[in-house]
């Protein structure tokens, strides 16, 4: 009985658990070349697109630099992929990055080490979502820098409503949270198959499937309730309402995806 008295277990608080897990994830993020490679990719893309010629006359694809950040008005249905070539592309490449990042957890066996401790499945989902959202938000910034540099180099038109531009950029950065939670969920579902995880993030994220599916709804604002729609809604005519819609949609979907991911992890074998 003497031994029993000494068996006191401390209950780790949510703050301590999530702090530890975020600490590990952010350490990994800043110490992996992957993160910096994707930041560079995000910076190079606008330069490549802006500098490319759009037609036989040699005219540029975009005559205004800021069209590389967002369209003038929401373009839910794109007629060619060029129309989609703005900051939304960050969400596609971000999906690949999140997939590789989470995939390493399973490949290295780190999850085995993690889930045998006090870590809750819900903490894992939150931590990966926050890290993924942060990395995508950083990619949005390097994308913006790449756009500015490329715009200045090719001397493209820089006229824009600054307020709307800032709101559009912030709204797209806010959307990172929702997208990151979707990619985290997809990686939880396909966690045993690294390749399928990446492919699913690419195609089921902002990839071809979603863009194609949007055509069913046509150019309808009802699409704003989805991640894709809200991301497109953040355009160069954005208002504060746009930001609010993006924030709410992003939070709502990240809650739903996190909940689904937690349920899947709680009800299935982890490793």
């Amino acid at each position: 009985m003497e031994n029993d008295n000494r068996l006191q277990f401390e209950s780790p608080s949510f703050y301590h658990r999530i702090k530890g897990m975020l600490g590990v994830d952010f350490y990994r993020l800043f110490h992996t070349p992957l993160f910096y490679i994707f930041l560079c990719i995000a910076a190079i893309i606008p330069a490549m697109v802006l500098g490319s010629t759009g037609d036989a006359d040699g005219a540029n694809l975009y005559d205004n630099t800021w069209l590389m950040v967002a369209a003038n008005t929401p373009l839910y249905v794109v007629n060619n992929i060029g129309e989609y070539a703005n900051m939304n592309m960050v969400f596609i490449f971000g999906g690949v990055m999140v997939s590789i990042f989470i995939g390493h957890d399973y490949k290295s066996g780190y999850v085995k080490q993690l889930f045998t401790t006090h870590a809750k499945k819900q903490d894992y989902m939150i931590s990966k979502t926050v890290t993924g959202a942060f990395s995508m938000a950083c990619m949005c910034i390097t994308y913006l820098l790449g756009t500015i540099v490329a715009g200045l180099l090719i001397r493209a038109d820089m006229n824009v409503n600054v307020g709307s531009l800032i709101l559009a950029i912030i709204s797209k950065m806010v959307m990172s949270l929702g997208w990151a939670s979707l990619y985290t969920l997809l990686n939880i579902i396909f966690r045993r198959y690294f390749g399928i995880s990446i492919a699913s993030s690419f195609f089921l994220g902002t990839g071809i499937l979603v863009i194609g599916a949007a055509a069913i709804f046509s150019n309808s604002p009802i699409l704003n309730i989805f991640l894709y729609g809200a991301s497109v809604y953040a355009c160069l005519s954005s208002t504060f309402l746009t930001f609010l819609v993006c924030l709410l949609v992003s939070l709502a979907w990240s809650f739903i995806y996190n909940l689904l991911g937690t349920i899947i992890l709680n009800r299935s074998d982890v490793y």
Partner: protein, 300 residues
């Protein structure tokens, strides 16, 4: 209260039943040797205890609480197969990350402590991928020891360890269980090594616990025998069978399990012109007991 108490545990993988109706009790402060053939359900059971697999049925209590309780989980150290480390990070960084996960307050001091325990202080800056198999296992053990756990679950921790590594491992396990504040569940195929440290045993077969016993009980089960070697084993066996009741042939000797004096055997064989090359008294160890038990179950 027991460290682990499992009742009627089962686990199905599609059409395969890996564990069926397993009962297991690991007392506080014990070193519980978990033995079984490949695919008998040892690792599956350990993974369930650690929360990596969801059981299909049954109950698991750790220190009297549900095994999913995070209070208890924060005090479990685990090494399942191999340590889950990032290949490109140093040994130190991998341990620091795990310490961070465990919310250990003075992480640097704790990592230094466990590295010292496994005699790896000098290799802290090495990249994990450059470590040998034995070193990786030691890192895994160090990782499991972080935060002074109350329960250690070790799946094949001795694999790849050299003689020195096995000795260190033995010393650590005996040391941490001495004060009865830590209990150890350890599975291994190296039964000779397990026999040196285990205080309790559990033998599993086809997902069912076929025998649980203490080291003392094993000792009482293990009979002593007289082993005799001669150039003509057939002739030797023929004469021994005439006088003794329980005579069995092993690889290169004949064993007499009767309670006898070896000198009498030598005299008896000399009288029948059988030249004895070697004669000694031995005791059945865990390995032989286990093999014998398995054979008995197959025969049944």
């Amino acid at each position: 209260m027991n460290a682990i108490e499992i009742k009627n545990l089962s686990k199905n993988f599609k059409d395969k039943q890996a564990v069926c109706g397993l009962n297991m009790t690991v007392p506080l402060g014990s070193i519980y040797g978990f033995i079984g053939e490949n695919g008998s359900g040892k690792s599956t059971t350990e993974k369930i205890i650690c929360g990596l697999l969801i059981p299909s049925g049954g109950t698991i209590k750790l220190f009297g609480k549900d095994y999913c309780d995070i209070d208890v989980r924060s005090k479990i150290g685990v090494l399942i197969e191999s340590p889950g480390c990032y290949q490109n990070y140093s040994v130190w960084n991998n341990l620091m990350l795990q310490a961070e996960n465990l919310s250990i307050p003075d992480a640097k001091k704790e990592v230094g402590r466990v590295l010292k325990m496994v005699r790896m202080e000098g290799s802290a800056s090495n990249k994990f991928k450059n470590c040998s198999l034995g070193m990786k296992q030691r890192i895994g053990i160090a990782m499991a020891l972080l935060g002074k756990p109350r329960l250690l679950v070790l799946d094949e921790p001795i694999n790849g360890l050299d003689a020195d590594g096995m000795r260190i491992m033995r010393e650590i396990l005996i040391d941490i269980t001495k004060a009865k504040t830590c209990s150890v569940l350890i599975s291994s195929h190296i039964l000779g090594e397990l026999e040196k440290i285990a205080t309790h045993y559990g033998i599993i077969r086809h997902g069912k616990m076929i025998e649980e016993m203490t080291a003392e009980e094993l000792d009482s089960h293990c009979r002593t025998y007289v082993s005799v070697k001669s150039s003509n084993l057939d002739e030797l066996k023929r004469w021994l069978n005439k006088k003794y009741v329980d005579v069995k042939q092993s690889e290169d000797s004949i064993r007499i399990y009767d309670d006898i004096n070896p000198e009498d055997v030598v005299v008896y064989l000399y009288q029948h012109e059988i030249l004895v090359q070697e004669i000694k008294t031995e005791k059945i160890g865990l390995e032989e007991y286990y093999i014998d038990l398995m054979n008995r179950k197959v025969t049944k």
